[in-house]
């Protein structure tokens, strides 16, 4: 009952398929439009919004500049508060740690919340190999999991599903995962929600171990923070005996004062709400209250690689609000799956290559090109990540990675073309000659395969009889 992003085709291929998915297109257009407008309204209410963005970016930059120091402080405070701290260099290490904790308590199931980072490392699949079932408890994540599906949005992972499908999924799949759905279930949203509630309630009460992510980790106190809308997160974080939180190392913020900035930036940017409904914080173990065994797994898994990237490191400021997804004209049309990662959209187009490195697989190398560089993402990012600039820099890295080696045929053709272009634009005389060729060629161009993607849906302008350059020379700039 799990799907995986592994082996996804490069972005253009995945996008082509997604563009034909009428329901996805319909749901995306509606959802992104709605959230976009909501965000714009509530952001406009905050007079010092730009200052707040600048402050958020500055805090993250300062923290990332001394990341080791803040992480060591976080570890120290956590240990003082009775938590166990683990360091995981990669997905395998992190999964081994979590599975080990589960096995040490002999549990065969765990409940989960804030699962993005554990999806990044494939925790559910790893636990399944050990015979441990991992149950998602966020409603949308539950739908995705029961549907043997993949999340398509950071905030609304089941954005591509409709009510009737959700009903069908509940009817067909809930029984195998716990409390079955009533056989007379309709697709009334309230009914669907209450069915999920009863199903999940049983799991919360039964589960002895929970696995969570975290939105923030406050170094000065050793406090983890989860913000969410359903309350299911709080159930997860408080009912089981053992709580394991997998936390990316970029989640650390120095102080509660710093946290305040992000708690103001996040909900408005994310759901377009002034404040998020549930903010849960916990600081190690509180005797007699909540989980009595608390683990924190601090995860690298490519983050230090991203941190080493002079231009790209700003991507680690990301607080996963999904504002960039909702304004992205590319995401709006192709949805999340096409990005082949749990991190979709503009932020995914930079985060994945930054964390994995480029030049190794075609899918990752295709992501920096999955943007028209329109800049809408940069405009709304609450921590001012200049995504277009990072994309351009990553494109250069992709090209550079293929220099010297044997590039795939398409890259070869492009590289040869670019060398020719470089030579042409190095000399206005050569350019004049090339322009005459272009004019000769526009008629022919429509017949050549190179023109196909263009002429498939667009008419091509006819080459003019004379270039501007030639006109200027012939007429002395229109004077004769």
């Amino acid at each position: 009952m799990t799907a995986t992003f592994v082996g996804m085709p490069p972005f253009p291929t995945a996008a082509r398929a997604a563009l034909e998915d009428t329901q996805l297109r319909h749901n995306l257009a509606h959802a992104t439009g709605t959230i976009r407008d909501k965000r714009a309204r509530v952001v406009a209410e905050v007079e010092d919004w730009e200052d707040l963005r600048t402050a958020g970016a500055a805090i993250k930059d300062a923290t990332l500049a001394n990341l080791e120091q803040h992480l060591v402080q976080l570890e120290a405070r956590l240990l003082e508060q009775g938590a166990v701290v683990h360091w995981a260099r990669d997905a395998a290490e992190a999964n081994r740690i979590v599975a080990g904790i589960a096995k040490s308590h002999a549990v065969d199931e765990v409940v989960k919340v804030k699962s993005m980072v554990t999806q990044e490392i494939g925790l559910n699949e790893a636990l399944a190999l050990e015979g441990i079932a991992a149950w998602e408890t966020d409603l949308a994540e539950l739908i995705v999991q029961l549907g043997d599906d993949l999340p398509s949005h950071i905030l609304v992972p089941a954005i591509h599903r409709n009510r009737a499908e959700i009903r069908q999924i509940f009817l067909e799949r809930m029984a195998a995962a716990g409390r079955p759905a009533p056989t007379d279930l309709t697709d009334d949203p309230a009914e669907l929600a209450s069915t999920a509630r009863l199903h999940l309630r049983e799991k919360f009460l039964r589960a002895r171990m929970a696995v969570s992510g975290a939105n923030f980790a406050v170094a000065e106190t050793g406090t983890l923070v989860v913000v969410e809308s359903e309350g299911n997160g709080r159930m997860c974080l408080t009912l089981p005996e053992v709580l394991v939180s997998v936390v990316g190392i970029e989640k650390v913020v120095p102080t509660f004062a710093d946290l305040d900035v992000f708690l103001r930036l996040l909900p408005r940017s994310s759901t377009g709400e002034r404040m998020n409904p549930y903010t849960s914080t916990w600081t190690g173990v509180t005797p007699g209250d909540g989980p009595q065994e608390v683990h924190v797994v601090l995860l690298d898994n490519g983050r230090t690689r991203a941190l080493a990237d002079e231009v790209g490191r700003q991507a680690l400021r990301c607080i996963r609000c999904s504002a960039c997804l909702n304004v992205c004209p590319v995401y709006e049309r192709v949805g999340g799956h096409a990005y082949g990662s749990v991190y979709p959209g503009p932020i995914g187009a930079i985060l994945n290559p930054l964390m994995h490195g480029v030049g190794e697989d075609a899918q990752t190398d295709s992501l920096p090109y999955a943007s028209s560089l329109c800049g809408a993402c940069y405009e709304v990012c609450p921590v001012k990540i200049d995504i277009p600039s990072v994309l351009v820099d990553l494109r250069a890295q992709v090209v550079d990675a293929h220099r010297g080696g044997v590039p795939p045929v398409t890259h070869l053709a492009e590289a040869v073309a670019m060398k020719g272009v470089a030579a042409t634009f190095g000399s206005s005389r050569r350019l004049g000659f090339a322009e005459r060729l272009v004019r000769l060629g526009t008629g022919v161009a429509q017949r050549l395969p190179v023109a196909t993607p263009w002429t498939n849906a667009r008419d091509v302008p006819k080459g003019p009889p004379e270039s501007f350059r030639a006109w200027w020379k012939r007429t002395d700039g229109g004077r004769r």
Binding site: F11, P12, A15, R16, L19, P329, V330, R333, P368, Y369, A370, S371, S372, L373, C374, G375, A376, E379, S389, V392, L394, R395, A396, Q397, V398, V399, D400, E414, M418, K419, V421, A422, A423, F425, G426, S427, S428, L431, E435, V438, R439, Q446, P453, W454, A457, R458, D459, V460, P461, K462, G463, P464, S467, F468, R469, W471, W472, K473, G477, G478
Partner: protein
């Protein structure tokens, strides 16, 4: 003030009328604009595709051609953005200190047409006449990279006879994005089709913008759909007067030669 026209490679080769309109317009406003013949391209096509080394020759041509000017005016928000925001990156990577120094001089002197008219010349009524219904698409780079804001609208509102119609979802990208239109052709078309649809909703005769590359994309879709809406560069509208209206040069529909064959 010595003013140079950076016509841009795409306008030079494919849209010379835009360049001519720039000359007509600027001369009418008393600017003796020059065309440095050594100019080629701003380098953006290479930079945005990831070929930064390959952009260096273009950059050298740029600083050689425009080095001596007080202002460099260009009918492209995108190329102006490239000069102001990308040239320094390319120059630094080249390791050529002379190029870095040269770019430091040229970059801040590059102005997109509407910036030059409104900020440098201080004019919004350029004496134009264009009695048609027009809608304006703010291209992403002029909107977000340069922040030209209301300048195009201020200029259009002063054009005699022109009826400016609001474009729905105006600030959404048209999907051109340079090589994006080739590398992600399907998504690019989906975006462009929506833009074309919004243009059609306005009922305007003409779509105007400050970048011919975006217009080539949207116009290509409008033409393929036989929409009866034409695209024009803002410079051509501002250059238009009652005595000298623009020559109508719609995006050509390639004639289909095999009609008449049944079924």
């Amino acid at each position: 003030m010595r003013v140079a026209l950076q016509v841009t490679c795409i306008n030079d080769a494919l849209f010379p009328d835009t360049g001519k309109a720039m000359v007509t317009l600027l001369r009418r406003l008393g600017v003796d604009v020059e065309f440095p013949a050594g100019q080629t391209c701003c380098g953006q096509p290479m930079v945005n595709t990831g070929y930064l080394d390959e952009a260096v020759p273009a950059l050298r041509s740029f600083v050689d051609a425009f080095g001596g000017y007080d202002a460099i005016v260009t009918p492209s928000g995108s190329c102006a953005g490239s000069a102001r925001h990308q040239h320094q990156i390319v120059a630094r990577r080249s390791g050529d200190a002379g190029l870095v120094a040269a770019v430091e001089k040229t970059a801040p002197r590059v102005f997109e047409l509407t910036e030059f008219l409104v900020d440098q010349l201080g004019v919004t009524d350029v004496g134009a006449s264009f009695p048609h219904a027009v809608t304006y698409h703010p291209t992403c780079h002029s909107l977000r990279m340069l922040g030209v804001g209301d300048r195009p609208r201020m200029l259009l509102e002063q054009v005699r006879g022109l009826r400016l119609v609001d474009l729905p979802a105006a600030e959404e990208c048209c999907g051109f994005g340079g090589t994006f239109a080739m590398k992600n052709a399907d998504t690019s078309i989906a975006m462009g089709s929506d833009k074309a649809r919004h243009v059609r909703e306005t009922g305007a005769e003409i779509l105007v913008a400050g970048d011919n590359s975006c217009l080539m994309h949207i116009g290509g879709l409008l033409s393929r759909q036989r929409s009866g809406v034409r695209t024009m560069h803002l410079a051509e509208i501002l250059a238009s007067t009652e005595a000298a209206p623009p020559t109508v040069a719609p995006l050509s529909v390639e004639p289909v030669e095999t009609r008449g064959l049944a079924l």
